[in-house]
């Protein structure tokens, strides 16, 4: 009897292992095309950045008025998307939701890639990146920029650990089973990263405890990374930024952007790697519901952020709000609110819409909407100067990003996607050991 059971278990495990490790071993034409196109975009961005380094920030459309353009908007966007790692693994995971198993690692990969690019784009926004060290040499404890540097660094460290640690058993499996099937350097990488994982009960015990601590720790760290990012604006007196709810407004918006990114990544990974048996419609349905939930929270904060000052229309707020509601930025504002918030909520309520393809479209709409939303948060406020300059040039009061700026920004976004793509090719996107555990296979014997 137990012999049959063992045979059975072995077959199930072999199937899981084969399915989930195939993407690591196989060469895909589409994947290579993706990498090449991303590298092209990055090369164009590097070329543009060379001009920016040589000629300074004058090559951008930023002026004394609009001193934060799409670079900083993208920074906020990157931090926002990166928060999804915390949402899925920690918040949803710690409340005992089992369905996150095949989604958690994708979320962590996105989190790590995007938070790294958040750090990079800050350096790109500096006219003199060689002075970066001054942040550490001449910092002020009172400066939110210094807090931001601290939390971004911390989040990178914890995200790396949260990606690596749950992967240790998988890396052990890959070390044991992939020798000869992948290039030697790859196997060496798995061998080193597996840290001699053999799956003894003691190792599992240490792993589970460490993970638990880190998953709890990442919640306040992730909250503070985006709260501090919001404080960069909210600690000023400027109309549109001078808001007490900016912290939770940013955090809830981040969950929306992150869920969108995960939905898109889930769809393409499932299609490309043929993982329909592991990332099922059930998981999409659950992710869709989560997306609606976080979007509803964000809608609530949007109401507070726009309706409350819109009711009072204080002098400076009124100028800002008219720019958004029926002025220069009204088209961008209403499109963003519609496609980045209202429509996804309405559509997500229907079961038919919570299928992989519609959800991918909704996710893409959310991500694009999220990026434009950050532009709307950052730029219109700056157009109306808090302390106007006399005889200011006309072009100070408008902001149309230059080709250079757009190229560099696209390049950084491409880098984030590239990192996700490389991570998702190098390592199994769906955890083998957890999937096996859920199917009742005792994989310890295998190692």
């Amino acid at each position: 009897m137990s012999e049959i059971r063992n045979q059975d278990e072995k077959a199930v495990f072999e199937k899981i292992k084969e399915d989930l490790l195939t993407p690591v071993k196989t060469k895909y034409w589409g994947y290579n095309a993706l990498i090449v196109s991303l590298l092209t975009l990055i090369a164009a961005a590097l070329y543009a950045y060379y001009f920016q380094l040589r000629d300074g920030l004058g090559v951008t459309a930023m002026t004394d008025y609009v001193s934060w353009g799409i670079y900083i908007a993208s920074f906020v966007f990157f931090v926002a998307v990166a928060l999804v790692g915390m949402l899925i693994s920690a918040v949803v995971g710690l409340v005992g939701q089992k369905w996150i198993t095949p989604v958690g690692r994708i979320a962590e990969m996105i989190a790590l890639a995007f938070v790294m690019m958040a750090g990079i784009i800050i350096v790109i926004d500096m006219g003199r990146p060689d002075r970066l060290l001054n942040v550490f040499l001449h910092f002020r404890f009172q400066s939110p920029i210094f807090w931001d540097v601290t939390v971004v660094t911390t989040y990178v460290a914890i995200s790396t650990l949260l990606l690596l640690l749950p992967m240790l058993p998988d890396l052990g499996i890959m070390r044991n089973h992939l020798k000869g099937e992948v290039p030697q350097w790859k196997w060496m990488l798995y061998n080193i990263l597996s840290l001699g994982w053999v799956g003894t009960p003691k190792q599992y015990q240490i792993l589970h405890r460490t993970l638990r601590v880190l998953l709890i720790l990442i919640i306040p760290v992730a909250m503070s990374i985006h709260t501090v990012t919001s404080w960069l604006s909210a600690l000023t007196l400027r109309a549109g930024w001078d808001s007490t709810i900016f912290g939770p407004y940013y955090v809830s918006g981040a969950f929306v952007a992150g869920s969108g990114a995960v939905l898109v990544a889930m769809y393409f990974i499932r299609r490309g790697y043929k993982l329909q048996d592991y990332i099922t419609d059930y998981h999409f349905d659950k992710m869709g519901k989560l997306m609606v939930l976080v979007s509803l929270v964000y809608l609530y904060f949007n109401l507070n952020e726009f309706l409350v000052p819109g009711y009072k229309m204080k002098t400076h707020d009124a100028i800002h709000l008219h720019t958004l509601f029926n002025g220069e930025y009204s088209l961008m504002f209403w499109l963003t609110q519609t496609f980045g918030l209202i429509l996804p909520i309405v559509l997500g309520l229907f079961k038919k819409m919570r299928k992989p393809f519609p959800l991918m479209l909704i996710g893409a709409s959310l991500v694009i909407g999220a990026w434009y939303k950050r532009v709307i948060i950052i730029v219109p406020t700056l157009i109306h100067a808090h302390l106007p300059i006399q005889n200011v040039p006309k072009d100070f009061t408008e902001y149309n990003p230059t080709g250079m700026e757009v190229t560099i920004t696209i390049g950084v976004i491409a880098t984030a996607v590239l990192i996700v793509a490389i991570l998702a090719k190098l390592f199994p996107v769906v955890p083998i050991w957890e999937t096996a555990h859920e199917k009742g296979v005792d994989i310890e014997k295998d190692l």
Binding site: F141, V198, L207, T210, V213, L217
Partner: protein, 303 residues
């Protein structure tokens, strides 16, 4: 009924006040008071004394007087008392009692804190802007003081820091070009303030070309205890200014010297530093602990 009366009373009061404000007629001065005439001689000494009082008590609202047909300064500005219309309409007594009683509706305060003599001196000064003025014949004017004829060449400022005296010494020559004493020359003494020069007093030189004035020692000085005193000879461009340790030293407390959220890096509040260091230390110690766990896992590998 009572309420209606109250409202009616308030309405009447407002109406009365508004009318009073617009017409500026009723200052509550009786006919006997109006009939009074200047009680002191209309002479130079009294006029100049009146000017000194006007400069410190009246000028901040009434500004410079100038001889004009009608007043053009509207409320809330105080009228130009050099307006011939005003001068003609008001008797000496009316001026005197307007100064004494004030007029709440227009914002004119009562100046009963000035002595009667001082108030009459003010009236005398105001009347110098009325060329048609006929001083009461009953009071004979004192002969005008001898006017210095010559040229003022310059002035020097000296201070006695022990008692706060400012000594202005003029250098002058007579018509022949020989050094002379300039007597009865008007000297204005100012102290420099943030937005202009504040007139302390106008003095006349004595027989030695010297004018002495007591510095108001309760006047705030700068953070080092210094004020800049300026003296000018009236009607000329001759002036001198000098710093002196007078008045009350200003103790300026720079908020940036205290620990604050807006201050420089070295003045970060202790609670902020502690919070930052403790939180960052706590988080990174936990990360360090997690890395240490990785080493523990590594040490459990099959050897």
């Amino acid at each position: 009924m009572n309420t209606i009366l109250k409202f009616a009373a308030i309405a009447v009061f407002i109406f009365w006040n508004t009318i009073g404000l617009n017409a500026q007629t009723d200052w509550g001065i009786s006919d006997e008071q109006k009939a009074e005439t200047l009680k002191i001689p209309f002479d130079q000494a009294n006029q100049e004394a009146g000017e000194a009082i006007f400069n410190t008590q009246c000028k901040m609202c009434h500004n410079e007087m100038s001889v004009v047909p009608t007043n053009t300064r509207q409320l809330p500005l105080s009228p130009n008392l050099g307006s011939q219309e005003i001068q003609k309409k008001n008797s000496d007594g009316e001026f005197f009692y307007k100064i004494t009683l004030g007029h709440a509706a227009t914002g004119m305060p009562p100046f009963d804190r000035l002595s009667e003599d001082e108030r009459w001196k003010l009236v005398a000064y105001i009347r110098t802007f009325y060329p048609e003025y006929q001083p009461p014949a009953s009071i004979s004017a004192a002969p005008a003081a001898e006017k210095f004829v010559g040229t003022i060449k310059g002035l020097t400022l000296d201070f006695d820091t022990s008692n706060g005296n400012i000594k202005v010494q003029l250098q002058a020559v007579d018509e022949m070009g020989n050094p002379a004493n300039a007597k009865n020359v008007k000297v204005n003494i100012y102290v420099k303030r943030a937005f202009g020069d504040f007139l302390i007093n106008t003095k006349k030189t004595d027989g030695q070309s010297v004018a002495v004035e007591q510095f108001p020692l309760d006047l705030p000085a700068d953070t080092n205890g210094y004020v800049t005193v300026i003296a000018t000879v009236d009607g000329t461009t001759i002036s001198a200014s000098k710093e002196v340790k007078f008045g009350e030293k200003t103790h300026y407390k720079n908020p940036l010297d205290e620990p604050s959220l807006w201050g420089p890096r070295d003045n970060a509040p202790l609670w902020l530093k502690l919070t930052y260091i403790l939180v960052v230390l706590g988080v990174w110690l936990t990360i360090g602990w997690a890395v240490f766990q990785i080493f523990r896992i590594y040490n459990l590998r099959e050897r």
